[in-house]
Structures are given as C-alpha cells and as structure tokens.
C-alpha cells in the first residue's frame, strides 16, 4: 500500500507518467498525509460550491415578500442542508486538510502517527457527505417524499421524532453527520499523537508554530465535543427506530435534553472551526509583517483558555428555553469571559503589525479581512451573551449575521488566507496575484453587503428560517441588499476557482520558499517529496528558518 505513492513521487523528475487509472488508484489507496490533506481540501471545495448554491437559492427566495421561487419544503431543506454542509463538509474537512498537510511538515516529521487511520478518517468524512446528499434521492421530509432533511442543522427535538418527521430524511442527517463525526474523531486522535510524539529533534512543545499549537487544542476539543454528539444521535436513532423515549415529549422524554446534548457539542464546535483560523492568522500575519508574532506564550495560553472556557458556555444557545436565573447568569458570565482570551489574540495580532513592513499580498489581505470581520463577529457575540438582548435578537437575522461574521468572515476568510499562503507549497506554483486581489475585494465587499444588512433585518424583527414574509414590515430592502451581496460574493468565488484552475497549470513557479517565511514547511521542496525532508534542519527556536537566514541574530537568543 505504501509503495504506490512512493513510485508516483518520482514522476515529476522523469518523463514517465503512469496511466490515469493507476494514478487514480494511487490517490484512492494513498496513506500519505499530504495527499489525504489535498483530498480533504478538494472535497471541501466541492461541497463549498453545493452549499453556496443552496445559499443563493435561499437569498433569491427572500428577495421580496411572499415570493414563490421555491416552496416552503424546498426552502426548509435548503437551509438545513446549507448549514449542515458548510459546517460538517466544508469548514471541517478544510481544517482537516490544512492540518493533515501542514502539521507533519511544520514539526519536521515524515507522516502522521497513524497513516492508515488518517485515510480512514478522510473516507468516513467523504462518505458521510455522500450519505447526507443521498437523501435528496431517497429520503422523505416532513411533508412530501424524496427529499433532504428539513429540520434545521441543529435538528431540535421533538421535530425530529417520527410523529413530526415521517420518512427517512432525518435518518440521513443523523447518519451522514455521525459517520463524518467519527472521521473527525480519528483525525483528532491522530493529530494529538503526531504533535506530542513526532516533533523534530530539538523542537520542544513550546517551540512548535502557533498553527500547530492551535491544532493541538483543536484536536482535544474535537475529542471532547464529538462523542457527546454521536451519543445523542444514537439516542435519537433509538427514539426513531427502537421505540426509546429520550426526546419523546409525549412519553415523558425531554426536548430540552437534546438541546443540552447538541450544544454541548455545538458550542465547542464553533471554536473547533475558529481555532485553526486563529492558527493560520498567527502564521500569515507575522510573515507578511516581517515580524515575529507578538507574545507567543500568551497566544498559546489564550488558546488553551479558549479551549477550556468553550466547553462551559453551551447553554448560551438556550437563554430562551426558560432556564433558571442562576443558569442564565452563569452561562452569560462564562460567555463574556471568553472575550478575554479572544481579545488577547486580536491585540497580539494587531501588535504584530506595529512597526512591521506589511506586504499586502493576497494572503495578508485575507488575514486583515479576517481581523476586522472577526472583530465584528466577536462584538456581536458579546451583545448576544447579554441575556436580555439575546431574548430579543436570538433566532432573528441578527443572530444569522453574527455567526456568519464569525464563521465566514472569521473561519473562511482565514482559510482563504491559508489557501493562498500554502498553495505554492502544495502545488509548486503561485496563485495569480491579480485575480487573488479581485477575489479578496469582491468577497470582502460582497460579504459586508450580504451580512451587514442582516443585523438590521434582525432588529426589525425578521426571524431566521422563514421561507417568506409579509409585506409592509420594511424587510424587503435589507433582504435585497443581502441578495446583491451574495451575487457579488458568487462572482468573487468564480474568480477564485478560475484562478486555481489557471495557476495549477500556468502559474508562476514558486520555488521552495516564495514568501521568505520562517517555519519548517518552507525548508523543503514545493511540492514536498513523499518523505518530506531529506535533512531536517536543526531546531533551536520557534522560527528555525529565521535562524538559518539571520545567523547574526537568531531567535533562540531571545526566547
């Protein structure tokens, strides 16, 4: 099994090219962390297109009051599938892809700790997505047949009980996310083992790049958050098919129990999607500011703090279910508390900019976009943590705006920064700078035109997940702005995909270190050979390549 990719690795050196079937076979059977990483990213981009189309249909349906572009059922399926897809099959695989590809390179080892488990994890994720989308052909929704799940991405009980969700669409949702969740758990185990045991000689845990630090915490969060979700989903399956009554309110079950179990996964999940973004930003901002990260230790400590606190804030999704005052107060205070380590991060990145020489290349543009958009998402998060405000704006479009500023303006902008930053490493070619800038500006403008007005439609009283609304409430203009923003972003993504296609074949050759960067992945060729490093450089500090390039003033003198 391991022989196949190795034979393939040399084909860039020779004119011999094995037939297509052999090359595909190589990819399908590979256990190489880099190829698995790339497959994760490709999978993520495919689902990004699907999820994006779903989002655009949602936006066009909401263009005017009482629009009839899609039916109520279709709309309910669209937002359920959009949410599930974007979280489980776009952001998660993209993160797994980046981590798989980069972590072994960054810590100077040849592969992850369990390469075959790694491959299993990828295929579980991919087939989980396939199961979810099979529902469109064979599932059955709340109303009508042959349909995708339509219970919302957090699938509140008892709407998922057989009484209200006849047919199998909810089962597809359960199985799809459960299978990919198990993939996520294998990924986390693997990553932790790799980071803890396989670092290059001389590299202490306090010297790994911040991306690796944040992925370590991230993997622990996955390990704590996903099993409760899987357990809850098994309980739901038992309710639906074996006559159990965990969430069956008509037989003494509890609807609120599902919310607790789901959000015990669901809130750490937000940070599972955000921490890798923080990691990417912590790599991109220093390199393009030409400065070392400000406060490495406090960054790592803040990450650990976020990890701990994020496990204890889940019920802030439930301020409206009528919990006791004490619970409301505790979860509100804990949610406020998470602003402190997050604030430290934002301040440290900003301080890294200070006194630097900012190279405003595409990765840096996306990183700066992340900083500002995530700032807004974080601040509206503070507003939502204020319980009485939450009573007004939760489940309104204000909330939709908030979490898109966190997950799109935050996570996805950072992932795009990472994409432009590491694409040369993975392919040996640069992404086009002009199309890249165009992509950034279209995305940045489109994003704000799309999600900015949602704050307003939210305070105007528009609830989320409505397939239509009554005229005369002043909601039309804000929805139309949002839709226009969506179109602008769509054009931005067309630029992106065009850029990727063009650069894959015609892009400028990158060389091994195009950005003049400092972490180990830039010490090897682009793309790296199967064995990653011929000789692992000596690691004495957090920036081994800085030490090589500046022997007169190496980092280890300052750490």
């Amino acid at each position: 099994m391991t022989a196949a990719p190795q034979s393939h690795a040399h084909d860039s050196d020779s004119s011999f090219r094995p037939p297509l079937t052999a090359r595909l076979h190589d990819w399908v059977t590979t256990v190489d962390h880099k190829r698995i990483g790339l497959m994760y990213v490709i999978m993520s981009l495919l689902f990004l297109v699907v999820g994006g189309i779903e989002a655009m249909l949602i936006r066009f349906q909401l263009w005017t009051a009482n629009n009839t572009l899609v039916s109520a059922d279709t709309f309910n399926q669209l937002f359920t599938m959009h949410g599930t897809t974007m979280i489980f099959f776009v952001v998660m695989p993209m993160i797994a892809g980046f981590a798989n590809y980069l972590v072994p390179l960054m810590i100077g080892c040849r592969d992850v700790a369990f390469p075959r488990l790694n491959a299993l994890g990828f295929w579980l994720s991919l087939f989980g997505g396939c199961i979810l989308y099979l529902s469109y052909f064979t599932g059955k929704g709340l109303y009508g047949g042959g349909a995708a799940p339509d219970v919302g991405w957090f699938a509140y009980a008892p709407l998922t009980s057989p009484a209200y969700a006849r047919g199998g669409s909810v089962d597809y949702w359960i199985l799809g996310t459960m299978v990919s969740g198990i993939g996520g758990i294998t990924f986390a185990v693997n990553l932790i083992a790799t980071i803890v045991t396989m670092r290059a000689p001389g590299m202490r845990l306090g010297q790994v790049p911040l991306f690796v630090w944040m992925m370590l915490i991230d993997a622990w969060l996955i390990l704590f958050a996903f099993p409760p979700l899987t357990a809850a989903q098994v309980m739901l399956l038992m309710d639906r098919h074996l006559g159990a009554h965990f969430f069956d309110t008509q037989a003494g079950g509890s609807a609120v129990l599902w919310q607790h179990l789901f959000w015990f996964f669901g809130h750490p999940e937000v940070y599972i999607m955000a921490l890798p973004a923080f990691g990417i930003i912590s790599e991109v901002v220093p390199v393009f500011s030409r400065k070392v990260i400000f406060g490495y230790t406090s960054m790592a400590m803040a990450t650990a703090a976020i990890g701990f606190i994020s496990m204890g804030v889940w019920a802030h999704h439930m301020f409206t279910v009528g919990m006791s005052d004490a619970l409301d107060a505790i979860f509100s205070a804990a949610s406020f508390l998470i602003a402190v380590p997050t604030g430290i991060k934002i301040f440290n990145w900003t301080a890294t900019l200070y006194g630097g020489r900012l190279r405003l290349k595409t990765p840096m543009l996306f990183a700066l976009g992340f900083l500002t958009m995530f700032l807004i998402g974080g601040l509206t998060g503070i507003m939502l943590a204020a319980v009485p405000v939450d009573w007004q704006v939760s489940d309104s479009y204000f909330l939709v705006a908030h979490f898109h500023y966190v997950l799109f303006g935050g996570s996805l902008f950072a992932l795009m920064a990472g994409f432009y930053y590491w694409f040369p490493k993975a392919t040996g070619r640069m992404l086009g700078e002009e199309l890249g800038r165009l992509h950034f500006w279209l995305l940045f403008v489109g994003f704000n035109v799309l999600f900015g007005p949602m704050h307003v439609s939210g305070v105007l009283g528009m609830p989320r997940r409505v397939y239509t609304y009554q005229p005369g409430q002043g909601w039309e203009v804000w929805n139309q702005l949002s839709t226009i923003g969506g179109v602008i972003m769509g054009i931005g993504f067309l630029c992106f995909f065009g850029n990727v296609m063009h650069s894959l074949f015609r892009g400028k050759s990158a060389g091994s270190d195009p950005w003049d960067a400092w972490t180990l992945e830039w010490a090897t060729t682009s793309p790296p050979a199967v064995y990653n490093f011929e000789v692992v450089p000596e690691v004495r500090s957090r920036r081994p390549l800085w030490d090589l390039k500046h022997p007169e003033d190496p980092d280890w003198k300052h750490e």
Partner: protein
C-alpha cells in the same frame, strides 16, 4: 469598510427609512428595559470596534511596505508582559461590568410585577397557529391576543403561561418583550405589559416545521373599557341565525366539527382554532390574510393554496357546501 454598528444606528433614526426597528421602539416596560441593556452593550461594542478597528487600519496604512524601504527586516518585538497583562485586564474588567449589569437585569425582568391587576393568558403553540386561552373567563381564541393597556397607576401586567401541543415554538412580540420558547411537556412563564394602545405584531421565532414562516401573532392593546366589552362578547356562546341552518348542518356533518369548537353547538374539536367568534378576528390562518368572505372561501376550499402542508386538510367540498359553511361562519361575530 462597512460599519455595522453604524448601519444599525442609521436604521434606528426614523428619517432614514421611515421606520424605527421594533425592538428599539418599545411599547411596554419589559421591552423598554431590554432596550436600555441593548443600548449599553451596543455602545460599549461600538467603542471597542472603533478603537480596535481604527488601530488596525492605522497600522496597515502606516506600516505598509513602501518601495523606498530598505531590504532589511524590521526590528523584532517578541512580546511584553506588562502590555499583555494590560490588555488582559482591560477586557476582563469590561466584561465583568457587563456581566453584572446583565445579571441584575435578568433578575429584574424575570420577577414579574405585583399581581393585583394581572391578567392570565394560557398560550398554546400548535403547528402552525396560536391558541390563547383566558382561564379566568373560560373562553379561548386564536392568533390574536387582546389585552388591556397599562395606564398610570392602573398597572395591568399580563402573565403568559406558555405551553406547546406538538413541537417547540417561540413567542416573540418585539415591541412588548423578548421571546420565550413554548416547549412540549414543559410550562414556561413570561409577563408583559403595554403602555400604549395599538396593534403589535409578532411571530414564532423557533423553527417548528414546514409553515414556521406563517405563524404570526397579533396583539391588540385596548382600553380597559374596550377590553371588558371584548371579554363580555367573547364569553357568549355562538350567535344563532335560522337563515344559515344549512351551513351549520354541513359544518357538523362534514368533519369540520372534529377539529373546531363552536361554543353553544355540538362542535367541540380541540385540534384547530376555536371558531365561536371567528368574525371578531382580523386575520385568517395565523395572520397571513385578511378575514374576508373571499379569503374565507378560498381558505376552506383548499388551505394548501396559501399554507402548503398545514394541518387543515383540503376536504374536497362542493362549491355549494363551501358557500353554505362560509355563510354560517360569517354569522359568528
């Protein structure tokens, strides 16, 4: 850069779009107290946004690479403990302050005002309509809540007892109060009061299935006298008119009576809305269309036309039957 708080502010000034967002235009003490908390956190967050966002912008402009720069790397700063401690403590104190304000406000809002003039209403959420039962007077109505205004020292607070018949719903009338969920097998409580007479609109705020979007609430806040009059009218059994005997009979024979109650007749169904005083309501099908003869006819012929998937089936009635039933319903004032 689009200033989101700016957008919110601009939306709140009446002149811009001719409309104040509902939650910034409270009509009762509950929503008013939420608004003051909202203003506070909005102000704090706006200040933070301007300071931090402005700093980032200033740094980007000031420190961007220029062609005249030398090729050497800039000086490296590895960190500074006092600075990092400062920007740990400053946010910590800010959020501590916010948390204390929030906790006080939660306790204040949850504690209902004195009960001497209270009005009790039991709210039951159904897929996809609202049942409002007035237990003190022994009648129930649907989708349109009528409550007395709270004037001067005549404080009328309304205590809502929230329950659900099927899945989770959420009661939200932004100008009166924040939302509270209606959860099956759990009873939630909330209170509200209205300072001004008028009509306030709300909607279900928790996704509850196919027609979640068409589960609207209308609250009519009326004077004390008008309220008493309304209660007296609602307490009466249904009016009887010999001229619509046929419609009455068809209603009882054709399964309508299985789901709907008309007090004073044999119709005692509880699955659908009480129709005893149907024509005293303004809208049909949970607020989606005006309660007129034409709409009533269209609705009874095929409810799925306007609310696909709703629980009221298309009974495939003949035109004559529909006509007779509508004529009967029109007498239920």
């Amino acid at each position: 850069m689009l200033l989101v708080p700016g957008l919110v502010l601009c939306a709140t000034s009446e002149s811009t779009w001719g409309q104040i967002p509902e939650m910034f235009d409270p009509a009762g003490p509950n929503a008013e107290s939420v608004r003051s908390v909202f203003w506070l956190v909005l102000a704090v967050c706006t200040v933070i946004f301007i300071v931090v966002g402005g700093t980032i912008l200033a740094f980007v402009i000031r420190f961007r690479e220029r062609t005249i720069d030398a090729e050497t790397e800039p000086p490296q700063f590895y960190g500074s403990q006092p600075i990092e401690l400062a920007w740990t403590l400053a946010p910590a104190l800010t959020v501590l302050m916010l948390a204390l304000v929030v906790i006080r406000s939660v306790i204040e809002l949850r504690t209902a005002p004195p009960m001497q003039h209270d009005q009790r209403v039991r709210v039951v959420g159904h897929q996809w309509w609202w049942e409002f039962e007035y237990p003190d007077y022994g009648f129930s109505t649907a989708n349109e809540l009528v409550i007395p205004v709270s004037e001067g020292d005549q404080r009328r607070s309304i205590h809502l007892q929230l329950e659900s018949a099927d899945v989770i719903h959420s009661f939200w009338v932004p100008r009166l109060a924040g939302k509270t969920d209606l959860i099956p097998a759990k009873t939630n409580e909330m209170w509200l009061a209205a300072d001004q007479e008028g009509t306030y609109f709300g909607r279900c705020a928790e996704y509850c299935g196919t027609q979640h979007a068409k589960m609207l609430i209308r609250v009519d806040v009326v004077s004390e006298a008008a309220f008493v009059q309304w209660v007296e009218q609602q307490k009466k059994p249904a009016a009887w008119n010999q001229a619509v005997q046929t419609g009455h009979d068809r209603f009882m024979e054709l399964a309508c009576a299985n789901c709907h109650t008309i007090r004073g007749t044999d119709a005692r169904g509880r699955f659908g809305p009480d129709l005893t005083h149907l024509m005293s309501r303004h809208a049909l099908a949970s607020g989606i269309m005006e309660n007129t003869q034409a709409n009533l006819t269209r609705w009874i012929k095929n409810p799925n036309l306007d609310k696909a998937g709703c629980r009221m089936p298309n009974m495939r009635l003949s035109d004559e039957d529909v006509q007779a039933i509508v004529d009967y319903l029109l007498t239920l004032r």
